[in-house]
Symmetry: C2
Subunit: 205 residues, 2 copies
């Protein structure tokens, strides 16, 4: 093993993640991936079997971690301040923010998530909902306890609004131009704070 810090497999995953975020799944070729990862073109098929498998692996690596963080933060929030909505929203928003801030390619990953939502008919979407649906259901339950009187349908809509706004903001798609002199990290942190406040008011309405 020439590089002990990052294995060939990890380098491929990192390069793929960045390129997927930038050019999409089908917009990224395995040649681009292997060139950036500085590995041989054949290594992808050796380690992952196919391009599709590489796509789901890129996903799993980040989402498993983010979902675990969200659930842990949710648990903490319910323990420390039961009945309060804002900490629950923060438990949902901030792990996504942290991922977006991550120097090690995580920032790109938020856009990969956005892309996955759009991938309506693909197996990727099914994979996501099967593997991570329980996280959203846990959040829905916790929020219901804070905002009694909402129908289940209303609750789910609002969670969807939150997820949509979060994805959009973290993917940096909007009109908001980062003011010059403000770091990317500061800018996104601000966005997260604003979103928590915005959503808290929305949920309580």
């Amino acid at each position: 093993m020439a590089n002990t810090q990052f294995s060939t497999k990890d380098r491929i995953l990192g390069a793929a993640e960045e390129l997927f975020a930038q050019h999409g799944f089908s917009g990224t070729s395995l040649r681009q991936v292997t060139t950036r990862a500085d590995v041989n073109i054949a290594a992808v098929n050796y380690h992952f079997g196919s391009k599709d498998n590489l796509v789901t692996e890129v996903f799993r690596r980040r989402m498993d971690d983010m979902s675990a963080q969200r659930l842990e933060r949710l648990r903490q929030a319910q323990e420390a301040s039961p009945g309060e909505l804002e900490p629950i929203l923060a438990a949902f928003v901030e792990p996504a923010l942290a991922l977006a801030q991550d120097r090690n390619g995580g920032g790109a990953f938020i856009r990969v998530i956005a892309r996955a939502y759009a991938e309506k008919n693909d197996g990727l979407r099914k994979f996501l909902s099967e593997r991570y649906g329980h996280v959203l259901r846990d959040f829905a339950r916790a929020m219901a306890a804070c905002v009694p009187g909402l129908s289940k349908e209303q609750l789910y809509w609002r969670l969807d609004f939150l997820a949509g706004a979060l994805t959009y903001a973290m993917a940096d798609f909007g009109l908001i131009k980062r003011p010059t002199g403000v770091s990317d990290a500061t800018h996104r942190t601000k966005a997260a704070q604003e979103l928590i406040r915005f959503a808290a008011a929305g949920f309580k309405s």
Copy 2:
């Protein structure tokens, strides 16, 4: 001209829209487009010059109309009920809803919009912001008058949250499953109402 109801150009645009929504821009080949439109492969380059031009044309066809509707509804809202926030939000949300409901393929276009922000196609993004940025600025101005005390930055963030939630909800990405027995139209109309309420509270916070 064999088909007088839909020109070759329109058939290409319609087929491209559906396929872009389903597979993304780079995931869709011109061959797929021309096969579905039942026109010759060379017709795309004849009518549009390039694939990139086709992409922007797909946008222009729907967005010009939706933006005009938004601005007209905004004007009406400001005239009929000055200082009220909800009618302004409705002026923003409901034209998107109408498009999503449109029998003539408009529904797919909402998903194309979602694709656009996932794909981070810089050329497309520039085109959109240059051509439709003024619409959002007009809305920001109108909202500022309803919710004094917000910084420009806060206002823009909130508009972004609204746009993100709207796209996500109209594209039907969320966990919300349409209850059986409820029509697609009713379901989305409900979503729009809920979003207006949610966002109104958020903006006023």
